[in-house]
């Protein structure tokens, strides 16, 4: 983490945008990490449905919870970036940002669903099915938003901006690794907490 911050601020070259561009090293890794969390949640959901692995439901939930947290951070950093770069807090032209908004709404509904069903095997099934829908929705929405841009904005977005210099790429990779390990750490941490909770509850029921 520290190494990544140091690299971001002292090693990576300042490009035409000036210091603003530094948020790139936070925004993009956070977004990719968020995808990774959603993907991991779907993998766990699949394991739950297919192999009936006990505990997979909880792991899927925790992964999606992390994904939503990082997704919210993506929206915030993305709109800050949009503000300094284009002068608006929100731009519908940025495909990634719109996609994140859709996913964010989708996964917020996941929590609504989870907390409106009584705990039990059926809730685990419902949540797992919904999580699988989410991972299918990601590419479909991406495609849809790209299609939508062609009738909302006539200009075509094909290039991904200038190619990155090696030093930028290296910094980017380190930053991504840092954010990913942060997410993993948080995931383990929350999972441990939830498991402890479940154990305590079981213990209390045994004692009562």
């Amino acid at each position: 983490m520290t190494a990544s911050i140091a690299l971001i601020f002292f090693y990576a070259p300042v490009d035409a945008d000036g210091l603003n561009q530094k948020i790139f090293y936070f925004h993009v890794p956070i977004a990719l990490t968020s995808y990774a969390c959603f993907g991991w949640g779907a993998v766990k959901a699949f394991q739950h449905l297919w192999k009936r692995r006990p505990g997979a439901d909880l792991e899927s939930y925790v992964a999606i919870h992390q994904g939503v947290i990082f997704g919210a951070l993506t929206l915030v950093t993305g709109s800050i970036w949009a503000r300094v770069r284009w002068g608006h807090w929100w731009t519908w032209g940025d495909e990634q940002l719109v996609l994140f908004l859709v996913l964010f709404l989708f996964y917020c509904a996941y929590f609504m669903l989870r907390y409106s069903v009584d705990p039990g095997p059926q809730r685990a099934n419902l949540c797992a099915v919904y999580a699988l829908f989410g991972v299918v929705l990601i590419p479909i929405s991406f495609l849809a938003i790209r299609l939508a841009n062609s009738y909302i904005h006539p200009t075509v977005f094909t290039s991904d901006g200038p190619q990155m210099a090696t030093s930028q790429l290296a910094t980017f990779c380190v930053a991504w690794a840092a954010i990913l390990s942060l997410a993993y750490f948080l995931y383990r941490f929350e999972l441990a907490g939830k498991r402890l909770d479940a154990d305590l509850k079981e213990l209390r029921e045994l004692l009562a």
């Binding site: 859709v102 069903v117 939508a148």
Partner: protein, 213 residues
């Protein structure tokens, strides 16, 4: 395979018969879609373009589908019908397919009224719009029926269905609006076909997990 089709036909006929006797869903959908169009007429300022009205047509369609889907599993839930259906010796996904077919029929009938009404109130519609509506219906109904079954289990029921459904309906709206406002609508229709296929397969495969423990 033939047995499966026969199961689906019987189950779908059950839904249609229930609707014929009770007449709960279809009149509600018809009334809803026409009143929505009237509301939209007053929501649009006087000189706004036809394109804006096309967008609102899609809003009306999505919400009408939502009205139909909200009612889809009411009998199953309130009369405990779902337990009987699960005991029946048929594949569980047949329940989903039959329910989708009946909701699709209701939605199609509602649109038979809605599209001419739209053409009369606002502006004419082309073949690409009609085709897009048809494809979008299939997509919305397949996903929506599964989600309606999910919502029927939860405590909040009618409240949660729109929350679950709308994010998934965004790609449908994009495809539909795109097909209605752009001249070469092929890409958008293709996208709707892709959406239908992908979500039909995943809903078909996962319905069993939704209704069982």
């Amino acid at each position: 395979m033939r047995r499966y089709a026969a199961d689906v036909a019987v189950l779908a006929r059950k839904d249609l018969t229930l609707e014929l006797r009770a007449r709960d869903t279809l009149p509600a959908m018809l009334l809803f879609v026409v009143s929505t169009l009237v509301v939209f007429h007053f929501a649009l300022p006087k000189d706004s373009s036809d394109l804006a009205a096309k967008g609102l047509l899609w809003v009306a369609i999505v919400f009408t589908a939502l009205v139909g889907l909200t009612r889809a599993f009411v009998a199953e839930r309130e009369q405990g019908l779902i337990d009987g259906l699960l005991l029946a010796p048929c594949d569980r996904s047949a329940i989903w397919l039959a329910k989708s077919a009946s909701v699709l029929a209701f939605l199609g009938l509602a649109e038979l009224v809605a599209l001419p009404a739209y053409a009369a109130f606002f502006s004419g519609i082309g073949w690409s719009t009609i085709l897009a509506v048809l494809l979008a219906d299939i997509g919305m109904v397949t996903v929506g029926t599964l989600l309606a079954a999910v919502a029927a289990v939860s405590r909040t029921r009618e409240l949660i269905l729109p929350l679950l459904f709308l994010p998934l309906a965004i790609p449908v709206v994009i495809g539909g609006v795109g097909a209605s406002v752009v001249d070469d609508s092929g890409r958008y229709l293709g996208f709707l076909c892709l959406y239908d296929a992908v979500f039909a397969i995943i809903s078909w495969a996962s319905f069993e997990y939704v209704v069982t423990e």
